[in-house]
């Protein structure tokens, strides 16, 4: 097999930057940095993470169930020999999904949801990381082609002492559960939607027992509500036995607007049943000129791993856009089933229904292939 020595590879891209907070079901890892370079999880896996993906998360093909394919634990299936100071990864997602809303006709779409490359170089405690690629769209009409090339993340990070870091660049400020699904209410309505990464500077400490993150952000070039927002966010989590409890805070100011949110998160791992319960609840106070409104956003899910490599979940969400006003709430109920046959392959089936206000309803179902060598 021909091998290629690569120092760094960077292509502008779009990637939903978030971790899989339920994977500790399989790995038992207490913190995201057990498997990821990024202090809040997501992005490239480190060597431990690649091994965990191959050895603990994936099911393995039946004919080699007794052995771990060595290549699964290497970047790009081991086809690329990287220098010790470089790492490389990719994410590609292809999805067939269908959606309907109230009395609108059902739509079907087959789209490549993601096509990203991740690169990282490191020397000692200093590292540079970037993610870039293509931003697909199911509704490309009128969109300039250049808008499909984006770099969601690019930052410099310095790790010093045990678990302490400084990071600056473009990334999502750590907050809440950091779910993968960007359509979840706790991401979409709290400032962490798709392409919600801001130019930020962050400091934190991540160890087995706890983690702390404090971030100041300036602007987001892609998303309107966050474009001109300046502010800060903080997240703290304490791990006690098989549970983790956290608190989040975010303040964003833009011209005559202000948005302040605070929330609590909880994760409970029920080991005998191979179940993890994840929950997040937030209150938001938004000021728009002379007016003010309070909002509530929550997420609650139960994830079950019946056998190695298979994950099933159900989730309930609430978003009330104005607590003082009736009939503007949204509720969602969803479920998903994931099969991870190899470390670099995930097959995901998702269904979600929303109830909006007193009479509207919307639903989506999706089958997705996720390839991440």
């Amino acid at each position: 097999m021909r091998t290629i020595h690569v120092a760094v590879l960077l292509i502008s891209t779009a990637r939903p930057v978030a971790a899989y907070p339920h994977y500790p079901l399989a790995t038992g890892a207490p913190r995201c940095t057990s498997c990821h370079y990024a202090p809040a999880g997501g992005g490239l896996l480190n060597a431990s993470g690649r091994y965990a993906a191959a050895e603990e998360i994936a099911r393995g093909w039946p004919w080699d169930a007794a052995a771990v394919a060595d290549d699964d634990a290497r970047p790009m299936h081991g086809a690329i020999a990287l220098s010790s100071w470089a790492d490389l990864g990719a994410d590609a997602r292809l999805a067939l999904f269908t959606k309907s809303a109230s009395d609108a006709p059902r739509e079907w779409h087959l789209i490549p949801m993601q096509a990203d490359l991740h690169g990282r170089v490191a020397a000692g405690g200093l590292s540079l990381a970037a993610t870039g690629g293509v931003r697909p769209s199911s509704r490309p009409k009128g969109q300039p082609p250049s808008s499909h090339l984006v770099s969601r993340e690019h930052y410099a990070m310095w790790n010093f002492r045990e678990g302490t870091y400084l990071r600056a660049g473009r990334f999502m400020p750590p907050y809440g559960l950091r779910l993968v699904d960007h359509t979840s209410y706790v991401r979409r309505y709290l400032g962490f939607d798709l392409l919600g990464e801001s130019y930020s500077a962050s400091v934190g400490k991540v160890v087995d027992r706890f983690e702390l993150h404090a971030t100041g952000f300036l602007a987001n070039p892609y998303v309107a509500r966050e474009r001109d927002e300046r502010g800060g966010a903080a997240y703290a989590e304490l791990r006690l036995g098989n549970t983790a409890w956290g608190g989040s805070f975010r303040l964003g100011d833009a011209d005559d607007r202000r948005r302040v949110s605070g929330g609590l998160t909880g994760k409970v791992f029920i080991a005998p049943a191979d179940v993890i319960v994840l929950g997040e609840a937030n209150l938001v106070r938004q000021t728009i000129g002379p007016d003010q409104r309070d909002q509530f956003v929550s997420y609650l899910s139960v994830v079950w791993r019946p056998v190695r490599g298979v994950y099933a979940a159900a989730a309930h969400e609430v978003f009330d856009e104005d607590l003082a006003v009736r009939d503007v709430e949204r509720y969602a109920l969803g479920g998903w089933l994931a099969y991870v046959p190899r470390a670099w392959l995930e097959i995901l089936a998702v269904g979600r229904t929303q109830w909006i206000g007193p009479s509207e309803r919307a639903s989506v179902a999706m089958l997705m292939l996720h390839y991440a060598p």
């Binding site: 359509t183 509500r225 509530f296 104005d322």
Partner: protein
């Protein structure tokens, strides 16, 4: 139906402490509020009517006065005449218009506020 009732009950339990009863149409009927509170979160997402994507050549983010001028100039809003304003036709999927937002409709209360705003002259 039983499932929907259960979902609503779970949500209402969560919201019980702070559930309000004000009429959704009684919120400020001015565009600077409607844009920030309704249009930007639901419509000006990165993949739709944002500066980045400009889907269907329509941008709903940015300076409120500029966006309002564009909505009126492009014929989406006829101040004082909500029945003739295509913006409402899209939000309600009326007269063959594709429902917007396409992934999930706005709550009826949000649409009623927009209708009242147009009816009262579409004030900035």
């Amino acid at each position: 139906m039983a499932g929907m009732r259960l979902v609503r009950r779970l949500g209402l339990i969560v919201l019980a402490a702070g559930c309000g009863d004000a009429d959704p149409a009684d919120r400020p009927a001015r565009f600077s509020y409607i844009q920030a509170a309704i249009l930007e979160p639901s419509c000006a997402t990165s993949g739709c009517h944002s500066e980045l994507s400009r889907t269907a050549h329509l941008v709903l983010e940015g300076d409120a006065d500029d966006v309002l001028d564009e909505l009126v100039a492009e014929g989406f809003v006829y101040p004082g005449v909500p029945a003739a304003s295509p913006l409402l036709h899209f939000l309600r999927a009326e007269f063959g218009a594709e429902r917007m937002p396409p992934d999930a409709p706005l709550p009826a209360g949000d649409i009623e506020l927009i209708e009242r705003w147009i009816d009262e002259g579409a004030a900035p």
